[in-house]
Symmetry: none
DNA sequence: ATCTAATTCAAACAAACGTTTGATTCGGGT
DNA sequence: ACCCGAATCAAACGTTTGTTTGAATTAGAT
């Protein structure tokens, strides 16, 4: 019970910082939401910035649920591995429970790249790209040109990240009610079937979907 | 020359808003960088928020300096209209001559949407989406489900915007020399062929396709 | 030259910000 | 009971914010 207000401050700070950003979030609002005095943040953390880094660290330590690599069954056909790859990536990116500032930090790094960008690429993006490259090699064959394979990988990942980054625009474009009807499985199937056909491989095997166009599946 | 300070204010505001965010950017800094008086923002735009909205709108609208929508020859087949659509969008987005903060301020709007997002959608995104929808309707037929058409549009636009947004990651992933060999025409053909095949309307991009850089653009 | 409207300027406005202060309350050790 | 440090509180601190004001300046038309 001693450090109760300290923890409440971290929780409230994470919520408000992620919602309004660092500058827009005020210490008064955080303390009010934490049912703490205004001077509590200065007593427990020193200043506003120290509270922010404490909240970021806490959120990061709590968000270790994402596993860096996913292992597929060896006998799974490559088309289904691609579907799982896309579905898993969508699931992680569109997970509404994870803190919202992940997107903000990443987009800021895209606009103003720092050395952190290279670290993220080597730690996270490169392994994921290699995993996708393996799937594409099994799909397209060993002799497929590497440059073409890269472009196809970009086309696939670009489709996924579009729903992650441009969510506000999509909501405004098709309406909130239409957006909320979209499910991860729907998008994963759309992107997978579209991409498989884009590679000239037709819809995924085992599905009774029509041959050429992506027909409407069962809409939830 | 009359509205010179107004334009200087928009440019300075875009740069500072993109770098520091809306709340952290002060109108004093903006006016100082624009060599304008502090009251200029209030005189020309009313308040800080209106200046921000003007900067965001400018970031999207100055790409198409002439017309929000491009008119195609009526006899042009829909597949080639799609190719031109993709090539034009790529050309506008990857134009290296346009200011650096256009991407930054847009990505910040994606992370923390404000009323400027809705303004951009109505002024710029919605007409472009309607233009793409017309092309897709000609490609897929009148009776194609609207929801499915939206998803296909998202898949196409997502591929284009990937190269716009994630340029730092692509450079780190495939190397600068490989990235600099990419041309707008190469990417446009890749995305167009991939997407046409994804809709079941054309051959998949093959190995021997004309993937060689055709022309070198002016690089700064 | 004179008038008029548009534009720029320095100065000050009230409000909100992060931070600090000093008194007050609470709990366990002596 | 006494004391001491931890913790919380209301109030005020000085600074910076966005915004407003009214005079000064400019440019064009009469």
């Amino acid at each position: 019970m001693i450090d109760d207000t300290r923890q409440r401050l971290i929780d409230a700070a994470g919520a408000i910082f992620s919602e309004k950003g660092y500058e827009a979030a005020s210490v008064r609002d955080i303390c009010q939401q934490a049912s703490a005095n205004i001077a509590a943040v200065n007593y427990h953390f020193g200043d506003k910035k120290s509270l922010y880094v404490a909240a970021v660290r806490h959120a990061q330590s709590c968000a270790d649920s994402e596993n860096p690599e996913v292992v597929w069954p060896a006998e799974m056909p490559p088309a289904e591995r691609l579907r799982e790859f896309i579905r898993t990536m969508l699931e992680r990116k569109l997970d509404t429970s994870k803190p919202h500032w992940h997107l903000g930090i990443m987009l800021r790094e895209m606009a103003h790249p720092t050395e952190a960008c290279a670290a993220v690429v080597e730690d996270y993006v490169r392994p994921m790209a290699n995993g996708l490259r393996e799937i594409l090699r099994d799909l397209l064959g060993q002799d497929y040109p590497e440059d073409q394979g890269n472009l196809i990988g970009f086309s696939i990942v670009g489709q996924v990240l579009f729903y992650y980054i441009h969510q506000p625009i999509i909501r405004l474009l098709i309406g909130n009610e239409a957006y909320d009807k979209l499910t991860v499985q729907t998008l994963a199937d759309q992107i997978t079937n579209f991409s498989l056909a884009g590679m000239g491989l037709g819809p995924a095997p085992g599905h009774a979907a029509a041959a050429v166009p992506v027909q409407s599946e069962a809409t939830s």
